[in-house]
Symmetry: C2
């Protein structure tokens, strides 16, 4: 039985699906206006492993994600520019080009991390008709109001359960945060369902309230309902979106369908860098491309799984080095087992115990750090099998490799040739940099690069018309 920590009830609960053998899952997708970063990896990896474990456990999963390509404003209080429109102005292109470019970058990074594609990836701009319908319905039911500026807001004071998810009381949320607030709101905590835009804005649509675009929160209510129905199993997202985004989704969903639509609300924790919050303005913003170049995507994947999805991941070199070492140990073992066995056999004895412990860890709210501890135990046992050349036991080990390490954890292993080639490329690049430094008469830099190469086990020798690299 899978147990899930449900933010709605603040406790772990048995997972009971609405429809037997099926899971309907909605996870808030990215706002596509910049390169994918560590925060994306943490969130989408968390839910990828959760989805994988449901599939492993025999469920048919329908996993829906949105792409926010309009309506996410820079300010928190429904003020400020649209994030995509702002980026489009910066890059001097069509906002649709910005959205598509960063959507491609996002999926490229997710693919590299071996995160499976959603069953449906829905762009907000693709569902404006449904969004306008939903806003109309909320207004008609008396929970939304239209201002003379052409904005439509959700009237939070009319909905007494507002705060049910985040456990906030209205007065707290107002006094606790000083945010710039749109002046035509009845109350500062009201949130936009539809925003009027000016003529210069490129992404805009006609509506019963004039020309505008959707508010940020409504798209998720509309898309989850459209693809998963009035009531669905799991909603996932980052804890940073618990309030106001998910709180607003609960309110909207309740008004639209007569009940809060998701049975389980799951939240992944955040990413810190060397103990401090990651942020563009803080200068410690790490894109995934940078990290992939340095460690490769599979080490990043492994590193994130070392923490529980509800724990903070702190990115620091020490942690990544540990991940690198452990991942390499696992990779070495997988190679050994795959050499010894080509067919699987259901595990028995000690391997069965380890296998069961892996499942138990995952059944307990997807506890990947405990899973990893078991996998490291498994590596020891598997290495003994390898050293003994035990073909029969190797088949059982292959079962664990394929089911736990590859299917559930989603780890992939590069071939030896690829690893060596990568090393060669790095050495080659360093040697070229040194050569350039020398030509530029930047002797200090050239010496430093020579020392780095030496440390990596390579000696560089200058020749008449260039240089040669020798492995020590």
């Amino acid at each position: 039985m899978i147990r899930i920590y449900n933010t709605r009830t603040r406790k772990k609960e048995d997972f009971v699906p609405i429809s037997e053998g099926r899971v309907g899952m909605y996870v808030c997708g990215p706002t596509v206006y910049g390169p994918p970063h560590l925060g994306h990896a943490k969130s989408y990896l968390s839910f990828d492993v959760i989805r994988r474990f449901f599939v492993f456990s025999g469920y048919k999963v329908k996993y829906v994600q949105n792409i926010t390509d309009v309506g996410h404003l820079v300010g928190d209080g429904d003020e400020g520019e649209d994030k995509i429109a702002r980026q489009a102005k910066l890059e001097k292109v069509d906002p649709y080009e910005i959205a598509y470019k960063y959507e491609c970058d996002y999926f490229k990074a997710m693919d590299a991390l071996n995160i499976e594609r959603p069953s449906i990836s829905a762009r907000a701009t693709g569902f404006i008709i449904d969004i306008i319908e939903a806003v109309k319905e909320i207004v008609d039911k008396g929970y939304g109001y239209v201002t003379k500026e052409g904005n439509v807001y959700f009237d939070v004071r009319k909905y007494p359960n507002y705060g049910q998810l985040s456990n906030r009381k209205l007065d707290e949320s107002v006094s606790g945060e000083r945010i710039e607030v749109a002046s035509d709101k009845r109350n500062p905590e009201d949130f936009a369902l539809w925003k009027a835009v000016d003529d210069k804005t490129l992404m805009k649509w006609d509506s019963p309230w004039g020309v505008g675009c959707p508010g940020w929160h409504i798209e998720c209510s509309v898309l989850s309902r459209k693809f998963l129905g009035d009531k669905f199993d799991i909603h996932g997202g980052g804890i940073d979106n618990l309030f106001p985004h998910h709180e607003c989704e609960c309110a909207q969903g309740d008004i639209l369908t007569g009940d809060v639509p998701m049975n389980y609300f799951m939240h992944n924790n955040l990413v810190t860098v060397n103990g401090t919050k990651m942020g563009k303005s803080l200068g410690n913003f790490i894109t995934l491309t940078e990290l992939f170049d340095k460690y490769g995507p599979m080490v990043v994947r492994y590193f994130i799984l070392m923490s529980h999805y509800r724990s903070i991941v702190d990115f620091n070199n020490e942690g990544l080095k540990t991940a690198q070492k452990q991942y390499a140990r696992i990779a070495e073992m997988v190679k050994g087992i795959e050499k010894l066995a080509s067919t699987e056999k259901v595990p028995s004895g000690e391997l069965k115990n380890i296998f069961d412990a892996c499942i138990e860890a995952m059944n307990d709210d997807f506890n990947t750090p405990v899973l990893i501890a078991e996998v490291l135990n498994f590596v020891k046992s598997a290495n003994t099998i390898i050293s003994q050349g035990d073909n029969e036991k190797a088949k059982e080990a292959l079962y664990v490799v394929n089911n736990i390490i590859k299917e559930v954890m989603g780890l992939q292993f590069e071939t030896k040739a690829e690893v060596e080639e990568k090393l060669d490329d790095e050495i080659d690049a360093l040697a070229k940099l040194r050569w350039q430094a020398k030509k530029d008469k930047n002797w200090a830099e050239a010496d430093k690069l020579r020392a780095i190469l030496l440390e990596k086990g390579y000696t560089i020798k200058d020749t008449k018309d260039g240089y040669e690299i020798e492995k020590n």
Copy 2:
């Protein structure tokens, strides 16, 4: 000066952009209901190289493609099921899941072929509001009519220029083809702008004419106009879509904007397999995945470029083997030049002549077979440079490699390690198959596999508990 064969005028014309230094390009995208095949590779590779050559020539290119995820019917005469809805029923999933799954497969194959992503990839379902607007406009202007069934058709008889692109006269197109035709049309050649759908259909929208979905042709008129304006430079697509699809686009565009919107209409030719048309029903339907497994995507890319985009590509093993050999020769040369030089120099002398001839070939309606002949000349010169170890000339050769072979042709080269690994995998797989055949006591099969391995230069030896592979 780039010269383009313009289907609208049936002759080669100088390319004059609407806005200096810019190209607006629209290419009809795929209907996402099945795996990508050779026809996709031919079309999108043709326009990829065209786009690359514009970029190389200093143009800023905005390249827009649609994704048909609704409205493309099985029948030609606006009858029959929607292709995506039909596939959704077969696979028993949401039609949006079908569309997203095959869109992912499509782009995965295009990425493998090193076809650059469009600037904007627009799904038809994402622009229903714009489509309804356009249909309304056509009806209001008197060129569309609404039937009591809730369909809206373009009244072809009212538009005297119908047939201008395909050079067809109305009576020909009717008598020449026996197609099932929707019964509520005024004239059989009228085409659907909007189709009523029944309650069971999942992809449907409210409209002034009742619940329905767009006709297939209107999405391209709407999307090209939305992203490229009333008048744009180039429209591309397969010659199989010249009639009726592109003919209808010209008609719709003319009514909507007051003129036929694209200055140049470019058509790529088709794919045949061993001389016959490729088709699912003909049993010679080749998916790209199959072909990539056999030859690798870069050989497929090279093979397609060996024919001009306006010529038929005939897929046959002989042609692919030739492509494989020539590509390998080029790859070997590129490796040699890159070893010798790391900086570029503008070519002089003979290399300049070859470089200029490459440009000339591409300026002449993107003549890739002539380009390839020049590139093969270049390989000879470059190999001489390599054998002489001429570092200075190698820099000029590197310039040609980077600009022509990599940038314009879009060829990529695997690292040596990857090629060897791939070979190893194949040998390994053959050895495993043989082992299985032996265990199954299928001696004939085992002997055959041993012979194949021997032919590839490997001897297989049985040991006490398995086998060993030795390279001869």
